[in-house]
Amino acid sequence: MMTDRWRAREAGAASEPSAPFETVFITHWPRVYGVLVRLLGDAAEAEDLALETFWRLHQNPPRESTNLVGWLCRVALNLGYNAIRGLKRRHVYEEQAGLEALKQNIEPSPEQTLEQWQTQEQVRAVLREMPTREAQLLMLRHSGFAYKEIAAALNVAPSSIGTLLTRAEAEFERRWNRQVTRDE
């Protein structure tokens, strides 16, 4: 049974002993969920995918547990990206529904909320179109992850993060400007 894999790891059967699964879950949940909810903008969907991320850790833990948060974020972002790309059509529908709801003054300060909501959708639209690794890099960095953690999550050298980040941000800017122009 899959449960035994983590049990075996806890008992030191893997390359190194691990903390109990519950401890790992409690420790890393806020960051894994945080990245997903920023990416998806849907709390329920983010929670669902965050739980699935931990389930995958439970089923198939990595051999090395030196940077579990990196591993978790890689899995979470892959799940998240496939979700936002797969749900693109749904977003178009929800965009309309959301706009209508906001126009009807459901939120306390509709103009401000509408602007924030529109920006969120624009950011996610750009991220959807960007190369996956660049988009994931931006998500991680702007969620407060350190270079070392990002490097572990994306399987790149820590010394290359600065360069990759610069390129990714330039690409984001280029696409952002193009989208803003198109929307206007």
Binding site: M1, I26, P30, V37, L51, R74, N82, R141, Y147
Partner: protein, 399 residues
Amino acid sequence: MTGNTVTRHSSHKIKHMNHLTEGQLRAHLDSELPEAEARHLAHCAACQAQLDALAAQRRHIAHQFAMLTARETVPSPEAAWQKFQTKYLVQEKTMPQKFWFRLRPVALGLTVLAALLFAFTFAPVQQAFSAFLGLFRVQQIAVVPLDLTGLQDMGGDESFGQRISQFFADSFTVTREPGEPQTAASAAEASQLAGFTVRTLAAENPTFQVSSGGAFEFVINRASAQAVLDELGRSDLQLPTDIDGARIRVDVPAGVMSAYGDCQASDEPEVEGRPRSRTLRNCVVLTQMPSPSVDVPPGVSLAELAEIGLQITGMTAEEARSFTQSIDWASTLVLPIPRNAVVNREVQVDGVTGQLLSHSEAEDSQGYYTILWTKDGILYALSGYTNSGVGLALANSLP
């Protein structure tokens, strides 16, 4: 960018100097550049200018990303851990492997069949105190939610689990081996292979798999069964003496599983980090088969066995009796479900009353669900990954 440039200093000496790369400058903005490397900035106007440009770009993007910060409260890790346990761990321990959730869709229909077999075999399906009820066919379905948490620890005792498995292995004889499922190109071909008229949903591109069905016998060994109860610490529950040697025959006719939407992704090997189940949101599987038949020898009171079984799972004797008396055992298939992982409710489907099993009672909630019903002697199970409202609409599209 890295470049060996030549800089003329006030001393008129020519000195080679390495500018910082964009990557180093960006790392400096994030306080990730070693101090030794950052010292260069203090003396280099070109690098400083480039740093300012990168800082402006970073500020702008940071502002956009800051907008993504969720307004909703982050669920506490402890609450999330509870959900995780309920959704995955408890289920893994208490359900037959990959029972209702986390199912491979192509296997879903087969799993439903297996679940039905499970129910026929281990759950109370017939009360035989009326001798004439030697044979019955399913005309309706009832669900009994059980609190299985008390049984979780059983899974942790490997030797006990093995003895349980051995008990059932010793008691079972397959009298008609199920053949390999056959693929049919159309509903007409599936109907011909299965021997009944296969109905199709109002959805495109179905694929059909016909399973041949099978038959088995289960001979009750009272002493072994009582030993299991004793080991569970439930010696207070005594099995009736007249069940010893009773032979229960179950015949499962050929069934048809039709899959709609993208259900094939599940057969791909799972690649780390690549979602599998996320691609299955439009997969719906409809399984249909004529009602299985169960032949129970006269004198064997399966209702009495049911009462005992329900008490093992935590029901009081009164609750168990009340439940068994509320069921028309002559025609009802009873499905046990874990109360903490699956919710059920009666639904109107295909013109009859059926049972909806899902994560949540809300019709529009996202997640796996199964709708079970019987009509005109055929047992139906419709399972999907979107929401049960969609499933019900599809089920009601049956001609």
